[in-house]
């Protein structure tokens, strides 16, 4: 057995790393406190929202939903054959599996926004490019999750069908697929929910949806109109989350539906998908040429090695370190605020109305696109990585809180009740019976968020909030494809490193 590092040493090491990262990103709480009035400036100007603007917002909001529905459905569907080709227990040459997994890993390194920017070069401006980006983004994540599920599913029934002479595909759909279906649908619903949020900002790079209008109104400082958009986005995200929770309950057999209801639901889902897909505007290929694609590919495959090895704050190493530091500090700060909020949002610890109120507030926090937070924090702290940290922290509060509340709702209360029956105070029961059970789940959610934030941190550059994003987007807009190649290589390496690290942490925490 390998020797394990003692926990206090691990904790001290992590704290040191956090402090170094906080110093590196220029975290300055004093500055924030002295300029705290600016925090509420924009928020105050958003109210009352301009309701006359509604007519202009609704079609674009629909385009946003359309992009996420079609993108998620297509990406998730394509992920099934890809996952079959990647999964170790299914037949197929090993080399091909390795290659496919490598490609998935490469795709996973990029956030939806960067994929959308790339898509606009091929498919022109508009929702088609956005839908393509959401499809690829969903495809990469779903493939990975699905082949991991296949690998951990029991193989007995599959082997039995194969032994009876069934073809691999038929045996898969008759044995393994029903086994992984609940997890597959749950993941797809999760992604659908997240993709609505992602789609809402794709307009910033011209890939359709409400983002373009949001960007315009923000830059013209018409904050009452921004308020209208944000309120509508909140409504959509709120509805989507409730729908997705309801459907997840159905998928996991926590609630049931009669056969007629099931047929109706399936019919409605198919109809929605078909309608969303058929009404998508066609791609604008007028500016796409073979030559452009060639330049792009040759640039990306010939990275700028000078940038790769450059020292100083414009070199790749510095940019990656900055991105990782922003993600680390942002996720940690977010988690610190998310823990108490998650308890307040759980009806197992607080009365139902209180829990509902806090859940709704957290949903509202979650529904605001991160660029809006970026803009608010830039007013407070100016451009730079500290703004990135704050932006990511607020976004993480919203998303982590959801995961944490789910963990609390699934808590086994027996030990808690036993301590309560002995006469221990409530706080002591939480500390000694609930937290020890929750810690591994919280850690796992934190790790997942950190993994995602590493990618998201690279988009912060759009708001001037530091990290690798600003130079990457600049290079893409200037068609400097060799630089794009270098920066992309760096992002792939970073996301790979974090992936390995988190796999190791998961094993260690088990």
């Amino acid at each position: 057995m390998r020797r394990r590092i003692p926990r206090p040493v691990l904790a001290a090491g992590f704290l040191l790393l956090f402090l170094v990262a906080a110093w590196f990103t220029g975290c300055d709480l004093g500055l924030m406190w002295s300029r705290r009035d600016h925090l509420t400036d924009i928020a105050a100007e958003m109210f009352p929202p301009d309701w006359g603007f509604l007519g202009k917002v609704l079609p674009l909001l629909w385009a946003t939903v359309q992009m996420s529905v079609t993108g998620t459905a297509l990406g998730a569907a394509l992920a099934v054959p890809a996952a079959m080709a990647c999964a170790a227990p299914l037949p197929g040459p090993n080399a091909l599996k390795k290659l496919l997994r490598f490609c998935i890993q490469v795709l996973r390194a990029f956030p939806a926004l960067i994929l959308a920017l790339l898509a606009t070069f091929f498919l022109g401006l508009g929702s088609f490019a956005g839908t393509a980006a959401i499809t690829v983004y969903t495809f990469a994540i779903m493939t990975r999750l699905t082949y991991e599920d296949i690998e951990s599913a029991p193989l007995g029934p599959w082997l039995a069908l194969r032994a009876m002479g069934a073809s691999p595909a038929r045996a898969f759909f008759r044995s393994l697929f029903p086994e992984i279906l609940p997890a597959y649908l749950t993941n797809a619903l999760y992604l659908l929910e997240g993709n609505v949020r992602h789609s809402a900002i794709l307009g910033y790079v011209g890939a359709g949806g409400i983002g373009l209008l949001l960007n315009e109104k923000v830059s013209w400082r018409e904050y009452d109109k921004v308020g209208t958009i944000l309120l509508l986005l909140f409504a959509v995200v709120y509805l989507m989350e409730h729908l997705s929770t309801w459907l997840t309950g159905l998928v996991q057999h926590e609630r049931t539906l009669g056969p007629a209801g099931r047929r109706l639901l399936a019919g409605a889902a198919v109809l929605l998908f078909v309608f969303c897909t058929l009404t998508l505007p066609p791609p604008d290929l007028s500016r796409t040429s073979m030559r452009m694609v060639q330049t792009l590919l040759s640039g990306i495959t010939h990275p700028d090695w000078e940038l790769f090895f450059r020292a100083g704050d414009s070199g790749l190493a510095y940019l990656l370190a900055e991105t990782a530091a922003i993600a680390l500090v942002g996720t940690c700060v977010g988690a610190v605020f998310a823990v108490p909020l998650a308890f307040l949002g759980s009806s197992r610890f607080f009365p139902a109305p209180v829990a509902w109120l806090f859940r709704t507030v957290v949903t509202a926090v979650r529904s605001v696109p991160f660029l809006i937070y970026g803009l608010i924090f830039i007013r407070v702290c100016g451009p730079g990585s500290f703004t990135g940290v704050l932006t990511l922290a607020v976004c993480s509060v919203g998303l982590l809180c959801k995961r944490f509340t789910e963990a609390i709702d699934a808590l086994d209360f027996r030990a808690y009740r036993a301590l309560e029956a002995m006469g221990a105070a409530k706080a002591a029961c939480v500390r000694h019976a609930a937290l020890p059970q929750l810690a591994p789940r919280f850690f796992s959610a934190w790790l997942y968020r950190f993994d995602v934030n590493i990618r998201e941190a690279s988009v912060l550059g759009l708001a001037g909030a530091g990290g690798i994003g600003a130079p990457l987007i600049l290079a893409m807009n200037q068609y400097a494809w060799n630089e794009v190649g270098t920066l992309a290589l760096g992002m792939i390496a970073l996301s790979w490193a974090v992936d390995l690290l988190s796999a190791r942490c998961r094993r260690g925490s088990r």
């Binding site: 036993a418 029956a421 006469g423 105070a425 019976a433 020890p436």
Partner: protein, 249 residues
Amino acid sequence: MLQVIHVRKQFPRAGEVLRDISFTLGEGEFLSVIGPSGAGKTTLFRILNGTETCGGGQVLYDGVPFESARGRAKRAVQRRLGTIYQDFCLVENLSALQNVLSACLPDMSLAASLLGAFGRERTERAAAILAEVGLSDKLDEPVKDLSGGQKQRVAIARALMRDPALLLADEPVASLDPVTGRQILGLLRDVQQRRGVSVLMNSHNLELSLEFSTRVIGLSGGRIVFDGAPAEVTEAVLRDIYGGAEAAV
């Protein structure tokens, strides 16, 4: 030490679950409450450990009314009770020692309990009690890695850590195999004799209940139909408690 006087309990759907239950439990007694499913054993148990209120009557611990006590007064009585559950109710990913130490929480200041500062004296006492229940080599083992019998030993150690006057055991061997179940009841009897603690046990397992207890109460349909020594439990008594079917077996 424990007096149960005319206790009743009614639930909106299930109707009257306990009808006029009265008995007293003396010091150092090992009392088993037996009866078929739905006889009211679990409800009685919950009323006795304060997790359920009673619909009428009184529960007195050393003459102090418990069923009407709230807040500090209730906790003062609860501190003298040790409870053992069928499903152990331990924190699975904490060590055996930490689980036993959690029994000290009611006596500690809020700050100390939040910091988990149990102190050397308590830690040594917890280790000694774990040794007493035969787990001296499992102190730092996470509970999830222990067997069912070992988990129940940890739960007994946690209850003993409170130095209780009365041990309440709710189906303590129902999740265990017969051999381990016998060992656990043997341990409970040892503890009862060595420390002079009273034990009140709910059990489905007739054979073990008769073998280990000093007194048996039979519940049927929410009433006490038998109260006496195990030796007095005859076929006729069993028929009264369980109805025809089980006595024939």
